[in-house]
């Protein structure tokens, strides 16, 4: 596997006002190949967005990160802003949930894309304007509408414009953080179809960050489930849904009503995620888990292979002999 993007043992800490530290991302490793669609799921506070921001080098000043983020084998995290800048937008781009916040309200959509193109030396003047028009059309915004201001566009059109802007420099990886969360279901379907086509037709790799499992089930090949700052399961979306090896993945699906799952018992997961401003002992999911047993109290499970491209961090899959040692 070529590994277009590899994240290795990523940690992120936030400084808290009271002097404490919040360990938001606790040793996350993941890899994306060209054209692959990876869904990063879990409830809020699980570290999904922080992971995405760390990869983009967009963490706020109160955060510090450790680990490696490799793009084509080159570490873009270690050197800080200097090492990520040449790649941001050019190789990796991101779109956020609120497209309105990503767009400048006092400039037309097309002129903002022209600015990005010129800034990154992609094109100049008339050529840049033509390219901006093409980009907008490629995401389904008719040429004339590019001359409008963000507030004159609907939510769906704004999200398309934000995607067009993110694609200006033809990145190979697109990170989409809850790209459809604020949108209506029909508009969501339009945006998902667009993302699908971009991956299929241009070999774009997609890291989709969302709490919406059905969206991942429909759009992604691979799924990664995060809980309390770490990955608790990863595998094909089919494995995670049909053969989950971590109770959190199973319970998360069971908490999601499905249009066809008429007789299904839809159940909440009791309790709440642990606080990340203090050290965790044992399995972070144990207090909410319906299958916890004695090793879960003191021993933190590590991600272990449970099948082909399938791994889970749960003692139900076997407690490794040397785990106690490693735990020290």
């Amino acid at each position: 596997m070529s590994g277009l993007l590899q994240v290795e043992d990523l940690h992120v800490w936030f400084d808290l006002q009271d002097g404490g530290e919040l360990h938001a991302v606790q040793g996350v490793s993941l890899a994306i190949d060209p054209g692959e669609r990876l869904g990063l799921v879990g409830e809020s506070g699980g570290g999904k967005t922080t992971t995405a921001l760390a990869v983009m080098g967009l963490l706020p000043p109160s955060a510090s990160a450790a680990g490696r983020v490799l793009l084509d084998g080159e570490d873009i995290l270690a050197g800080g802003e200097a090492t990520i800048r040449p790649h941001r937008w050019v190789d990796i781009a991101i779109v956020f949930q609120g497209a309105m916040n990503a767009l400048n309200p006092v400039r037309t959509v097309a002129s903002q894309i022209v600015e990005v193109l010129e800034l990154h030396g992609q094109a100049k003047g008339a050529r840049a304007r033509v390219q901006a028009g093409e980009l907008l059309e490629s995401v389904g915004i008719p040429a004339g509408r590019g001359e409008r201001f963000p507030h004159e566009l609907s939510g769906g059109m704004r999200q398309r414009a934000a995607i067009a802007m993110a694609l200006s420099c033809r990145p190979r990886i697109l990170i989409a953080d809850e790209p459809t969360t604020a949108l209506d279901v029909m508009v969501q379907a339009q945006i998902l179809e667009l993302l699908d086509a971009l991956c299929r037709d241009f070999g774009l790799a997609l890291l989709l960050v969302t709490h919406d499992l059905p969206v991942v089930a429909q759009l992604c090949d691979q799924g990664t489930v995060m809980y309390a700052g770490e990955i608790v399961e990863r595998g094909s979306v089919d494995d995670i849904f049909h053969a989950p090896r971590h109770p959190y993945s199973r319970l998360l699906f069971a908490a999601t009503p499905d249009l066809d799952g008429e007789g299904d018992e839809v159940a909440s997961i009791p309790g709440a995620p642990p606080r990340l401003d203090r050290a965790l002992e044992g399995c972070p999911f144990r207090p909410r888990c319906d299958r916890a047993f004695s090793p879960c109290v003191s021993l933190r499970p590590r991600l272990q292979t449970v099948g082909e491209r399938h791994a889970a961090a749960c003692h139900l899959n076997g407690v490794p002999e040397d785990a106690r040692e490693r735990q020290r």
Partner: protein, 335 residues
């Protein structure tokens, strides 16, 4: 399902709500005709005691305005609203007051709807004070406890003295529901009650509503989420551009949808199972604006199966030929 066979708790007939559109300076000077947003344009629905009706549709379709009109928070232009058999659409503020406690609302965002400075006890007690109900201080506390127990925040002692910021999202929404229930309403309007909550706790709040419904509460739930409606509603009404275009028992609307809009909506709902990937029927364009409602069937410009007649004929809700039950209705001339 409803047990109270006779009269629905709430009956809305041909409800119309319009909002004026600001003309702006130029419009005023040039005397451009005044226009209005036809937010609700002839809605008919009913909710029985012990029944949950889900009103579904995309943003801007008028579902929230319908709910607000039912509660008389906005004034309808025309139409009838009968609550417990009594026409309330023209009642003044004074006569409405005793009715208000019998119909309560729960809003979408429990982070906004709860006063951050009030303890849970005060939040739940407040409606009693406003309506001058509940007797002595001790009696009121007893009712607050009972309301907290009904929303499964137990033991109540654990929550009485807490502030909203000390509660999780799910717990906050339960407190908001308790503040509605303390007045012992007959009808609860729940406007997107779980959309701001984390996936892991949504089901719990929905199950709570389900149990309240079993105990006789009538619930009008506004939602954009068809999966939730499919699982928790007795009946579903689908709204498009100010009208109900399809209505019937939940399972019929989901599994035997008649209106092309409902069918398209259902086809784009993402399923949990990755093996269940269907080709969604994506409608192009967006919902037209409610100032200029298309002629004939309001859905015809986006309808994949529209015929010429659809541009002229405005269809009424009727029992479709092939529908399996008589309670199933759709507004489409093709069915």
């Amino acid at each position: 399902m409803s047990v109270n066979g006779n009269r629905p708790l709430l009956e809305v007939e041909d409800l119309v709500v319009r909002y004026p559109v600001a003309r702006g300076l130029v419009g005023t000077v040039t005397r451009t005709p005044k226009r209005s947003v036809h937010a609700v344009d002839g809605v008919t629905l009913s909710v029985r005691a012990g029944e949950l009706l889900a009103l579904v549709g995309e943003s801007g379709c008028g579902k929230t305005t319908t709910a607000q009109a039912v509660l008389r928070l906005v004034d309808p232009v025309s139409g009838a609203i009968r609550f417990e058999g009594r026409e309330i659409s023209r009642l003044g503020a004074r006569s409405l007051r005793p009715l208000r406690r019998r119909m309560q609302i729960v809003y979408q965002d429990p982070y906004e709807s709860l006063d951050p400075r009030l303890r849970v006890r005060a939040t739940v007690e407040e409606p009693l004070l406003i309506h001058g109900l509940g007797g002595s201080k001790a009696e009121r506390l007893e009712q607050v406890r009972a309301a907290l127990a009904r929303v499964e925040l137990s033991p109540p002692e654990l929550f009485l003295e807490r502030f909203p910021h000390e509660l999780s999202g799910g717990q906050r929404q339960r407190v908001a529901i308790a503040a509605g229930l303390v007045l012992e309403p007959k009808l609860l309007v729940a406007d997107e009650p779980v959309s701001m909550l984390d996936v892991s706790v949504r089901a719990g709040v929905l199950q709570l509503l389900d149990r309240l419904r079993e105990n006789g509460l009538g619930i009008l739930m506004i939602t954009h989420d068809l999966s939730t409606a499919a699982r928790f509603a007795d009946r579903i009404a689908v709204m498009y551009l100010g009208r109900i275009v399809e209505e019937g028992p939940a399972r019929e609307v989901i599994h035997d949808a008649q209106h092309p809009y409902t069918r398209a909506l259902l086809s784009v709902v993402p399923r949990r199972d990755p093996r269940h990937r269907k080709r969604p029927q994506i409608l192009t364009g967006e919902t037209p604006d409610a100032v200029r409602i298309p002629s004939g069937c309001r859905f015809h410009p986006r309808c994949p199966v529209a015929i010429d007649d659809c541009r002229i004929h405005d269809p009424e809700l009727h029992h479709p030929r092939d529908a399996r039950t008589s309670e199933h209705k759709a507004a489409c001339i093709l069915v």
